[in-house]
């Protein structure tokens, strides 16, 4: 059975090791790390709000969708909340599988769906104060491509 580990934490992700998957089953490990970008040179910090309880359940649910869709050995999803500085890790998704294509696809799927369906909200601190980050159409489209009939096969 595909192991699914999820966590929400206010501690730096950098200090968390991921499980190793060195069991001889997993030929492929694909890991995504998202860091706080400073696109304009104006972001001082970011604050992440979440919905305690639902956020963890939503992460687990998208992990369950991924394991129904691809042959995976394990999934790990960690998301940071609270105040985060530029350059720090905000999210880490790791997928272990027997083969690389399943691992790549599942990891990209998890990130796309996380960005459009998991209750987390970003607020940016700039010289003008705190501002909520607007959801981007691009992220909704990225998630929608996994729902297209041609890429069906989930349930």
């Amino acid at each position: 059975m595909t192991r699914i580990d999820v966590a929400i934490t206010a501690e730096p992700l950098e200090s968390r090791l991921s499980s190793e998957g060195r069991d001889g089953r997993s030929g492929a490990e694909v890991r995504f790390s998202g860091r706080v970008r400073d696109e304009s040179g104006q972001v001082r910090a970011l604050f992440l709000e979440h919905y305690p309880g639902m956020t963890e359940r939503a992460l687990r649910r998208i992990g369950e969708h991924a394991r129904e869709r691809w042959p995976l050995n394990a999934i790990e999803m960690i998301h940071r909340v609270g105040e985060i500085r530029v350059g720090e890790e905000i999210v880490r998704v790791v997928v272990w599988a027997g083969h690389r294509q399943a691992a790549f696809e599942a990891c990209a799927f998890l990130m796309d769906v996380l960005k459009s369906q998991v209750p987390l909200w970003k607020k940016e601190l700039t010289d003008d104060g705190w501002h909520w980050v607007e959801a981007r159409e691009r992220d909704a489209e990225a998630a929608a491509r996994w729902m297209a009939p041609s890429s069906e096969g989930a349930r």
């Binding site: 919905y51 939503a58 999210v91 960005k115 369906q117 987390l120």
Partner: protein, 84 residues
């Protein structure tokens, strides 16, 4: 009784984390609940108007405006998510 919880920009606009309300029996969907809240609580009405793109969860599961709400539910209203 229904517990209504708000997050992020919507929470700030409402000025409350949550409300416990007992709407009339005619309120059976998320959309009807929002309309009723807007009537009863002008601050909520203004906050909802200021957040036209919204998401909703019922008992911690994503739902739609026409999803059914019932006594005992927790209904969460929030702006589109921006994690990751």
């Amino acid at each position: 009784m229904i517990e209504v919880v708000f997050f992020a920009a919507l929470r700030e606009r409402v000025g409350e984390d949550s409300l416990r309300v007992t709407p009339p029996e005619t309120v059976t969907t998320v959309a009807a609940l929002c309309d009723w809240l807007a009537e009863q609580y002008p601050a909520v009405g203004q906050a909802l108007d200021a957040t036209p793109r919204r998401m909703v969860a019922i008992n911690e599961q994503l739902a739609e405006p026409d999803s059914a709400v019932a006594d005992g539910d927790t209904v969460a209203l929030f702006p589109p998510v921006t994690g990751g």
